[in-house]
């Protein structure tokens, strides 16, 4: 029998199914050969090692930002700054990858740590503004995204740009700085192991340590946490530091794992996608893995569909919009939950 406590799982599944159904409907209207197009969208990502590799490659940055945003959301901080930090830390790691020469193992470690620490420091600014002066973290973090993008682009144009390349890209990274590939035939890199490790660590941090407990209580009710003697301002700064560190690490690992030059001339969007991943994962670190894979899967499916059929990849934005809308719509399926509750109550 269905129980009301499984309601959230059922609801999330229903949301995803509805979004997919809408996608199919659109495909059916647009495509000359809808059945084939849908089949490409659904199954092509699994069709070869290379395609599976694409899904996992894309899931790695989504896991980083999804984890960072989950922690922030858990502390009831609606901070969307992972976007700018992801980008800027990528610039920082690139600079070190280009201009320093270090040993094969140390080089990426130094570049990634530098990116992560810069990310943590930058993220702490909206955190401190929130903790000390109650400045709305959503506003400050969004403004920071623009600021960091501007500075990052300036550094790319005036410090890192390779004039010999026929595009707005940086010099090539030193070979020593690049991350190792894990599986031949794909671009899956060691970043996967790092992010999975981080997710497990975050899980233990959040549910088993006293600092994680403080974070959860501050998020659940800040005045209750303060009344209990917790230093909520410190908790808020701490969660910003951790989230910034993770997002910064994600950006650094992404550039060193996937590219040989820094080439983002626009914000890559992973930070905002992280918010979607966190929402699907209900801000649970372990669930971030599944929700990042899901999102990566439908994106790669859409890409392949665009390449192999007559439906453009932008269709995926519609699916995402429907998912966000329905997940954040609290009333969705409420009536059904109420009916389940009534039934359970009568049986009790």
């Amino acid at each position: 029998m269905l129980k009301s406590k499984y309601f959230e799982v059922i609801r999330t599944t229903a949301v995803i199914l509805i979004a997919l159904a809408i996608a199919f409907l659109i495909i059916a209207l647009v495509s000359e050969n809808p059945v084939k197009t849908i089949a490409i969208f659904l199954f092509e990502p699994l069709n070869s090692v290379g395609h599976i590799g694409n899904v996992i490659e894309m899931a790695i940055p989504l896991m980083f930002t999804g984890l960072a945003v989950s922690l922030l959301f858990r502390a009831n901080m609606f901070n969307l700054g992972a976007e700018g930090i992801f980008y800027f830390s990528g610039v920082v790691a690139s600079a070190i990858a280009i201009h320093w020469s270090l040993g094969g193992l140390i080089h990426p470690v130094v570049a990634i740590l530098a990116g992560s620490i810069v990310g943590a420091i930058l993220s702490a600014i909206p955190g401190i503004l929130k903790a000390k002066w109650n400045a709305n973290e959503l506003v400050t973090s969004l403004m920071f995204n623009n600021i960091l993008f501007g500075i990052g682009l300036y550094l790319l144009n005036y410090q890192l740009r390779d004039a010999k390349a026929f595009a707005n890209v940086s010099f090539k990274f030193e070979k020593t700085a690049l991350l190792d590939k894990l599986i031949p035939g794909t671009r899956i890199h060691t970043g996967l192991i790092i992010v999975l490790g981080l997710i497990v660590l975050a899980h233990f941090f959040l549910y088993k340590t006293k600092w994680g407990y403080e974070l959860r209580m501050t998020g659940a009710n800040r005045s209750f946490a303060r009344y209990s003697g917790m230093k909520t301002a410190k908790v808020i700064v701490l969660v910003h530091l951790i989230a910034g560190f993770i997002a910064g690490m994600g950006g650094s690992i992404e550039v060193l794992g996937m590219y040989t030059r820094f080439q983002w001339t626009a914000l890559p969007g992973y930070g905002l996608d992280g918010a979607l991943v966190a929402m699907l994962a209900k801000n649970n670190p372990l669930s971030v893995i599944a929700s990042a894979l899901f999102l990566a899967y439908i994106r790669i499916g859409a890409d392949l569909m665009a390449r192999l059929s007559d439906v453009p990849a932008e269709m995926i934005s519609i699916i995402q919009a429907v998912i966000i809308l329905l997940i954040s719509a609290e009333q969705f399926l409420k009536f059904w939950k109420n009916r389940m509750l009534l039934k359970e109550a009568r049986e009790a």
């Binding site: 209750f224 009344y227 917790m230 109550a345």
Partner: protein, 522 residues
């Protein structure tokens, strides 16, 4: 038999969080009666009334008004059918005048603006008709609680209410104000109005109600003529057992002072004195009650004692044993062995979405028994939570259940369990049983007395006069930021006499009050 004015049949209400507030309840009102609705907290009284007032819809069951089946989808539906409600927490705009509040949502117009003179006239007419004197031009924020309540009642009457629902109307009133309210209700009854009177206080129910419906655990326990049931019978039906209204208190065994307050003053940002030169002390093994009408400085006193006041706002000294805490932060104060049961369990005392177990450890998780420096000790926490749930008879499905799904009384038990389990040297209990059912209140009182037995010092602030009179060893009465009375044997005092001090009509000589301080030197 005549058709009832209002009838509810087979009402079941399940909230989205799974709480079953009402289960197959029948309720009926005869025209022109005062009908009491009594029951423990979480028994479903407020929910039942919210359904009559269109704020909630029943999950199952039917509502009939004058024999006609009705669906009430909004308060406006209810108002249109002559139902009015006076909420426990008043729904008035403080910065508006009485007349403006009266016509809110149905303003008489003059061009584009409000016809203020007409609003005043409407207010005066209604007030005269029902013999409820109010000043239409006074601002609501300047009114006493009793006056605000009068405005709420008039507001409902102006909207044509025939049925008037009063949700715990006497909870915030002094005994004198309560008597006045009862006279007014009798008058309304003579005018042909029907009144639903929600209350925990059995004496009041007996005094003015014709019939009583008793709810327990969401179910109706029956309807009775009030004259035919005794208080004991009602209370047994409410809680399912006989409630002891007196406690076996051991003899006062007072030890060294734990809390010493000397010449404490607090000013607000405009320099107005909120606390004026207060001095008292609380000894280990002693319960000091603080009574007073709300807004006479108790809030500020509690803020100083619990570290909730911004620094620089107060003068004087406040010591816990030998440590000055007037400007200390919350953690420092807690580490001195001070526990605090806050007035507002929802916004301060608990985190609704967190589990019972998470809520139970919020003030203990720092102790080395519950963590090893980094990780929380899950098994220790689990056994502690299980013990407290057992000891405080917290009704729940288990320690992992979110606290927000519990009824008010059970939620309060979690708060009290947490604060008492620290074995505090000093417990500050602010309205520990407000809005809590008789059974839970009794348990909380027993736990407070147990702590006193174990040499804890307790400050008890409460609007429930019975509670402060019965539990305290010494009683202080606050009026306009000062202590106006200091009494040794509170249980011998009557509520009426206490009311005189609370309203500032009587006050003791300053020398008599200073006596508390002199004890310290003994």
């Amino acid at each position: 038999m005549e058709t009832p004015l209002l009838e509810m049949r087979g009402i079941t209400k399940v909230y989205p969080n799974g709480v079953v507030a009402n289960r197959d309840v029948n309720f009926s009102l005869r025209a022109g009666e005062i009908h009491a609705l009594a029951g423990e907290n979480g028994a479903g009284k407020s929910t039942l009334m919210k359904m009559i007032f269109g704020m909630e819809e029943p999950s199952e069951g039917e509502i009939y008004i004058r024999g006609e089946k009705t669906r009430l989808l909004s308060p406006q539906d209810a108002i249109d059918r002559g139902i009015g409600m006076v909420h426990q927490h008043f729904m008035l705009v403080p910065s508006f005048t009485v007349a403006e509040n009266m016509v809110l949502g149905m303003e008489p117009r003059k061009g584009l603006g409000i016809h203020y003179a007409e609003a005043v006239r409407m207010t005066e007419d209604t007030a005269r008709k029902y013999n409820l004197a109010v000043d239409p031009k006074a601002k609501v924020e300047d009114l006493s609680v009793g006056m605000k309540q009068k405005v709420e009642i008039l507001k409902a009457l102006l909207r044509g209410a025939q049925i008037l629902i009063l949700d715990e109307p006497t909870a915030v009133l002094t005994p004198q104000e309560t008597e006045e309210l009862f006279r007014e209700l009798q008058q309304l009854k003579e005018h042909g109005h029907t009144i639903v009177f929600i209350s925990h206080k059995l004496k009041e129910v007996k005094a003015i109600c014709d019939r009583i419906t008793i709810l327990r655990g969401g179910r109706s326990e029956g309807v009775f003529q009030t004259s035919e049931v005794t208080e004991q019978e009602i209370s047994r039906l409410m809680v399912g057992r006989d409630v002891v209204l007196k406690y076996d208190k051991s003899k006062l065994n007072m030890q060294a002072p734990v809390l010493t307050v000397e010449n404490l003053s607090v000013n607000d940002s405009q320099g107005r004195a909120l606390l004026n030169n207060i001095s008292f002390s609380v000894h280990s093994g002693q319960i000091v009650g603080i009574a007073g009408v709300e807004g006479n400085g108790q809030r500020e006193l509690m803020d100083v004692l619990t570290g909730g006041l911004r620094s620089g706002a107060s003068r004087g000294t406040v010591r816990v044993q030998d440590t000055e805490i007037r400007e200390a932060n919350i953690l420092t104060i807690r580490n001195l062995g001070v526990s605090y049961i806050p007035e507002d369990r929802m916004s301060q005392g608990s985190a609704g979405e967190a589990s019972i177990s998470d809520n139970l450890i919020s003030t203990h998780y720092r102790s080395k028994t519950l963590n090893n420096g980094v990780f929380l000790r899950a098994s220790k926490i689990a056994s502690m939570a299980a013990e407290l749930i057992e000891a405080f008879k917290i009704r729940c499905s288990g320690p992992k259940q979110p606290i927000g799904m519990l009824s008010g009384g059970n939620m309060q038990k979690v708060v009290v369990a947490r604060e008492c389990s620290a074995n505090p040297k000093l417990l500050i209990a602010e309205q520990p049983t407000r809005g809590v059912d008789v059974g839970a209140a009794q348990l909380i009182h027993e736990k407070l007395l147990e702590l006193r037995e174990n040499q804890g010092a307790i400050v008890l602030v409460s609007a429930d006069l019975n509670e402060v009179l019965e539990i305290s060893d010494r009683l202080l009465v606050m009026y306009e930021g000062e202590i106006v009375a200091d009494m040794e044997d509170p249980s011998s005092l009557s509520e009426e006499e206490l009311g005189l001090y609370m309203l500032g009509i009587k006050r003791q000589e300053p020398q008599h009050i200073r006596r508390t301080m002199n004890d310290v030197e003994v």
